[in-house]
């Protein structure tokens, strides 16, 4: 049986009455704290690169790379998903979370082999981020280039 539009609207309302709301304040605070702390660690790494004489701009990419490695390692050790349960987007939005989203499917896909498993699955979650990042950046940069010049 398939509920008609009225019945399913009715049922959705009943469901809304019964379902707990996510603890938004707690989640947002946790995301703020963990996200902020990850950035503080990143700032320390940035500072280390800059103390070697790099400009902040030049140091940004190697800092990101170090954070990617850290996120990948914590995922391999099985710790990052535990952090994420508490932190939500606080651990997903920093680039360490990007690394997590690459390592997690890759780890699991190992059983399906290194080509069809790891190779194909590496970007199952991170893929959309790269695709839309590149597309959005291309559009935004082209627009700016066309309107304002380089």
């Amino acid at each position: 049986m398939r509920a008609d539009a009225a019945a399913s609207r009715d049922y959705a309302g009943r469901l809304r009455r019964h379902q707990p709301r996510p603890p938004i304040l707690r989640n947002v605070l946790a995301a703020f704290l963990v996200g902020g702390l990850i950035c503080v660690v990143g700032q320390a790494v940035l500072g280390w690169f800059m103390s070697g004489g790099m400009t902040p701009k030049d140091a940004a990419a190697p800092t990101a790379a170090v954070m990617v490695i850290a996120g990948a390692l914590l995922t391999g050790l099985g710790l990052y998903d535990e952090l994420a349960r508490f932190a939500g987007m606080g651990s997903a939005l920093p680039i360490t979370g990007f690394a997590n989203s690459i390592v997690a499917p890759a780890l699991e896909a190992k059983r399906e082999g290194y080509v069809l498993g790891v190779g194909a699955q590496l970007f199952t979650i991170a893929g959309p981020v790269i695709v839309y990042g590149v597309l959005a950046a291309l559009a935004a940069a082209a627009l700016r280039y066309g309107l304002v010049g380089p």
């Binding site: 049986m1 609207r9 019964h18 997903a92 780890l107 699991e108």
Partner: protein, 365 residues
């Protein structure tokens, strides 16, 4: 549909509507089992988290290693199923080759855990898919086969594994995703029920099986399966009551499969609106398997093994000892997959019910 075909060849006992009444059917949805097939044995195995739950002491074996030494989650799950099946036969005092048929199911694509398990168990095999409703479906059909005389012993077994299910239905297990409070935790474990065998020793019997219909209430949120299934659970319970003329007063307990914290109160509300007062005789396996205050399972448990383990570790001992005299187990299933969810389709749901009875006294008239 086939109605015309039936009218063309009227058989003896044909009713006016052209339908041949099945002698063991009561009402539209329910099968009554006149021989009341006995439950010979029940066995449950689980992962560590279920072992730490309130029913942990009643589980036959708690595997502390969720991989069970296997190279993949899928193989680990099928080991759970084999383990439960073998333990069940041992408890019943039977060799595996004395079992006439195996009915098994799980949550994975093409019910692969069950097929792998059947490969090892080497029995005539029926693979079943009813998502988390598979436990009641398998036990019910096993009872029907025994009642009909098509099997002297039928083994019903189901499994689920948190990590294989996460991987298939949600995200890779190491991916850091936060679950909403309505999410449920897929139980790691397996349950096996051997129906049939020597009847005089039977202390638990199966009297009715109600096969539910598939209902889609338009819910699309796969993180709220209990809420999506509440309607169909109430529907199957209502159908069972209508068909058998029973109600909550006739059962010590009516237990749904995995409606959990969101769905179970909804089902109670729906039943109340339909004129059935659940009172304190209405429980949910998803709320019994874990201690939600101590264990981070959000709304509660789910998975084929959820109702299986709660039945085996919780209800069956009570039925056996007579502390429960009548139980209606209503396993509930959410029949979606990841692809159809991504395609924006709503979730079809189903619930099947099996009525158990304590039969201690009748064994010694």
């Amino acid at each position: 549909m086939t109605g015309t075909a039936v009218r063309e060849r009227p058989a003896a006992g044909t009713t006016e509507s052209g339908r041949v009444p099945a002698p063991r059917r009561v009402g539209r949805y329910t099968m009554a089992l006149p021989s009341r097939p006995p439950v010979a044995a029940v066995a449950t195995v689980s992962g560590p988290m279920e072992g730490r739950g309130p029913l942990g002491h009643g589980i036959d074996h708690v595997h502390q290693d969720r991989t069970l030494g296997q190279p993949s989650w899928e193989l680990a799950e099928s080991r759970l199923l084999v383990d439960a099946a073998q333990r069940c036969c041992r408890k019943a005092g039977l060799e595996l080759d004395q079992v006439d048929v195996l009915l098994a199911g799980d949550l994975l694509n093409q019910i692969i855990s069950s097929s792998f398990a059947a490969r090892d168990l080497d029995l005539p095999y029926v693979g079943l898919f009813g998502a988390c409703s598979t436990f009641a479906l398998a036990v019910g059909l096993a009872a029907v086969l025994v009642d009909g005389g098509y099997a002297a012993t039928a083994l019903a077994a189901v499994s689920s594994h948190h990590d294989s299910a996460e991987r298939q239905f949600r995200y890779p297990v190491e991916f850091g995703a936060q679950r909403p409070p309505t999410a449920q935790w897929t139980a790691t474990g397996a349950a096996a029920v051997l129906v049939g065998g020597p009847a005089r020793k039977a202390r638990v019997r199966i009297t009715h099986v109600t096969l539910g219909r598939v209902v889609d209430m338009g819910i699309k949120d796969p993180y709220n399966m209990g809420g999506a299934m509440a309607w169909v659970a109430a529907d199957t319970i209502r159908r069972h009551f209508q068909d058998t003329g029973r109600d909550f007063g006739d059962y010590d307990l009516v237990a749904t499969g995995d409606l959990a914290a969101v769905g179970h109160p909804m089902a109670a509300e729906l039943l109340r609106e339909a004129g059935y007062e659940p009172g304190d005789r209405f429980a949910d396996c998803g709320l019994l398997l874990y201690d939600r205050r101590r264990q981070d399972v959000h709304a509660g448990g789910s998975g084929c093994a959820c109702s299986g383990i709660v039945f085996g570790a919780g209800f069956y001992p009570d039925l056996y000892e007579g502390r429960l005299r009548r139980l209606l187990l209503v396993s509930t299933g959410s029949l979606h997959n990841k692809m159809t969810w991504e395609q924006g389709q709503s979730i079809p749901t189903v619930a099947h019910a099996v009525a158990f009875e304590h039969a201690g006294e009748e064994a010694s008239p």
